[in-house]
Amino acid sequence: MRRSGGYRKPDGRARDRTGSSDNSRRGASSRSVEQTPDGRAETVPAVTGNYGRELRELLMGIGAPKPAPLKPDPFQLEALTALEFEDVLVTAPTGSGKTWIAREEMRRLLELGKRAWYTTPLKALTNSKYAEFSEEFGPEHVGILTGDRKENSSAPLIVGTTEIFCNQLFDSLRGGEEVGADLVVFDEAHYLADEERGHVWEEAIILTPPRIRMLLLSATIGNAAEFAAWIAEVRGVHCGVVTRPGARPVPLRAAFLMPDKRLVPLLNPQAKLNSEIARLSEQDQRDRGSGGRGRRRRW
């Protein structure tokens, strides 16, 4: 284990953030590639053959990048800096490193002897974060609270479901114990829009005492600024919005697999539907018009 005792001491905050991230992230993600007996993910076949120009362009660059140290994205550092003086809403697509921000901030707080609460919407996610943080910070520093699991509940870092966090807020309002946290992280904060359970996120945001710093990690949403403005109004603390520019960490290309198993780009250079697919749809309509409902296309 890398850290069996406590957390690593930083030489300086900024350096530690870039430095430790390299180790922790690469440790977790690149190891699996190296150990994999799967050669395919590593090799980049030249896109040649009888592919047309269109397809060559679509598939250009497919494969694994050259191994390079994973540097934190500027938006991750921006979020960390903002957290020093305000609440922060981070909106970025899955897999772009939102958790890294939370982890680095929690590391900093734990080193200062402070406490944090990490909420997730799902039990499975809670369990996996508990395992992840226990390895990162040492099991004695992490506790877990879900509806049916309660371990090390006085630890400085608690991972749990949002419902349990909200219950603690209710209890403390009714004269119970104060919620002992200096930071609360809402992972998957866009669950606020969940029909069944979304109200819990709203209650938690409204009832969390302003002294507790709030970090919300959300998928990309249309009204991030409005959402942050609401949080700021309710809590009386400014809430910054940090968005990953360029949206995705790995670019996305869209394709369509034709019934004859040919891959074609979904869109034409004008970002409209590829006319070949449009023709296929028309053909399909015509077939159905003449052949009646019972006729099914065979592969």
């Binding site: 690149s30 699996s32 590639v33 994999t36 007996p37 799967d38 395919r40 993910a41 250009m60 660059g61 497919i62 494969g63 694994a64 990048p65 191994p67 994973l70 697509p93 899955t94 897999g95 499975a124 509806g147 049916d148 209710f170 009714r174 998957e188 829009a193 029909e195 109200h199 709203e202 409204i206 959300s218 998928a219 990309t220 949403i221 991030a224 409005e226 959402f227 109004e233 995705r248 960490p249 790995v250 670019p251 996305l252 290309r253 869209a254 394709a255 369509f256 697999l257 019934p259 198993k261 891959l263 979904l266 539907l273 449009a278 296929l280 399909d284 159905r288 099914r296 296309r297 592969w299």
Partner: protein, 612 residues
Amino acid sequence: MKLRMPEMPPGTLLAALGSYNLLPAIIFLPTRRRCDESASEAALSRRAAPDERRAARHEFMLSFVEQYPEIRKHRHWDAIISAGIASHHAGHMPAWKLVIEKMMSAGLLDAIFATATVAAGVDFPARTVVVTCADRRSANGWQSLTASELQQMTGRAGRRGKDRVGFVVAAPGPHQNPQRIAELLSAQPNDLESQFRATYTSLLNLLDAFGSFAQVRRIAEKSFAHRNLLPQIRQLETTRDANETRIREALKLASVQAPVATVRGIERLANARSRLLESAPQTRREARLRWLHKWVQPGRVVATGRSGKRLTLVTARGRDGVTGVREDGRTASFSLERTGRVFAPIFSTQPDKIEEAFDEIHQRGGQLALPEPRLSDHRGEEESSIKLINDLIDSLAGPHGEVLWSLQPEAAAIEQAERQIERLRADVWEPFERCARVLDHFGYLDFELERVTDRGRWLADLRVDRPLLVGEALQRGLFGALNPVRAAGLIAAIAADEDRDYGELELDDAIVSLLVQFEEIAFEVSTEEWKQGVEAAPGINFSAAAAAANWTAQAEWIELVHETRAEEGDLVRLLSRTGEALLQVAGLRESHATAANTARAAAEIMLREPVR
């Protein structure tokens, strides 16, 4: 522009993707069954292909068996090891899903067939995401994917550090629509929309903490939902203020020394006057019906028939109908309109007293008949009210009648804006008030005093999905003589999704009668909820009760799965939710010591492998 083609056979699809080096891939399918079938089918077609990762997969799986023995017996065990293909959806056990996720991250799998639930929450990316369907299945049938949902899916495409590019591949399917997929890909992400609502738990906790409805309302109005109404409220306020300004300026221009309130007062009076005029009876028939409505009451004798001589003693009155007893003792029903004269005295409707009533009418009928109404009487009544209003308007308007009258449209606009503002303001709070009335009815809250009762305090601590039902079961002693098995059954009956079927396991008579009692309570609760306009909780699930009772009676997992014919993932969810709810009951040591002990015992048995 739909493309209603069948899905490609999964083996063909994977071969095509493989030929373009697009694996590993996550293929999204609309149903759990399609995922399982496709994984098995694809595995068959790939079995013969050489794959040097088989040994690694086998080793990987075995390393998990120690911790999660249940995965060894999984029906997809072979498919995964031999073909590197898995199915992943909410019907699988949590442990199984975890293994799949880890194997995918380790690069040992080529394809996962998954429902959209994968898109939310768990994180296992692939090089390619395949979308076969532009719709998704919801409780209300097929619905178009939203931009955010598609984005959650494509968010899995392209592994950071392992892929330079990620791909989303639309493939043919019965609900495919390439045009829509193209549009959704370039669409702005959806707005986050508030789902704030009143719950018993939040109301009880907040009222207990803050001590008044006004304070709870203040909290409710901090919600994102309320904030979203504010622009509308602001706009109405602007309309209102603009009209006030217009009135003020017009008054100034005409040098009338009257406040805006005078103009608004006249508008309200005029409004009341026109409502009076509208509701006044216009015909003799209307005037007469009103009169009948007022006077035909049980115990009175009325005359019917063309000659007006057939007498009936009224025993019951509906809105438009009359029921009574005739002189010959037979029952008669007729419409109110057919009533002729009405006699003043009110007699007893006891069968032995009926004769006395008719005798009296025969003797003194002429004097006892109530005077018939005249249209002019009614008119007179209305007219005197109208005259009063007219006088009030005159005295308010004074010598400036004309100017003040000309400003009536503005005054009416102010009135309307204020009513709408009031309605919007109440939008978020009103549901809380309705919940409060239901809780008041069952004694958990005192509506007049704005206080949570002692009973309500423990209910506030009971954080379950349907606290009021569980609360009433406790309150009425249903938990009193329960053993853990029955307690588990009882709680499972409401922890389950209402319409999910967990098979037809036998239930013993004691549990059945307990559930019937519980169902009666549920009916009573939902009747009150319906009355107060609170969305009533769904019914209770007997098959879930049976499954949970069996499990708590130490049934074997394999047998339980077999006998309930439920999917393992659904069973785990039911039982762990039940266990959680039981632990909540177990927390009520002070108010319900016996029930708490039973619940704790039940939860401990219930939350054993593989449920926890």
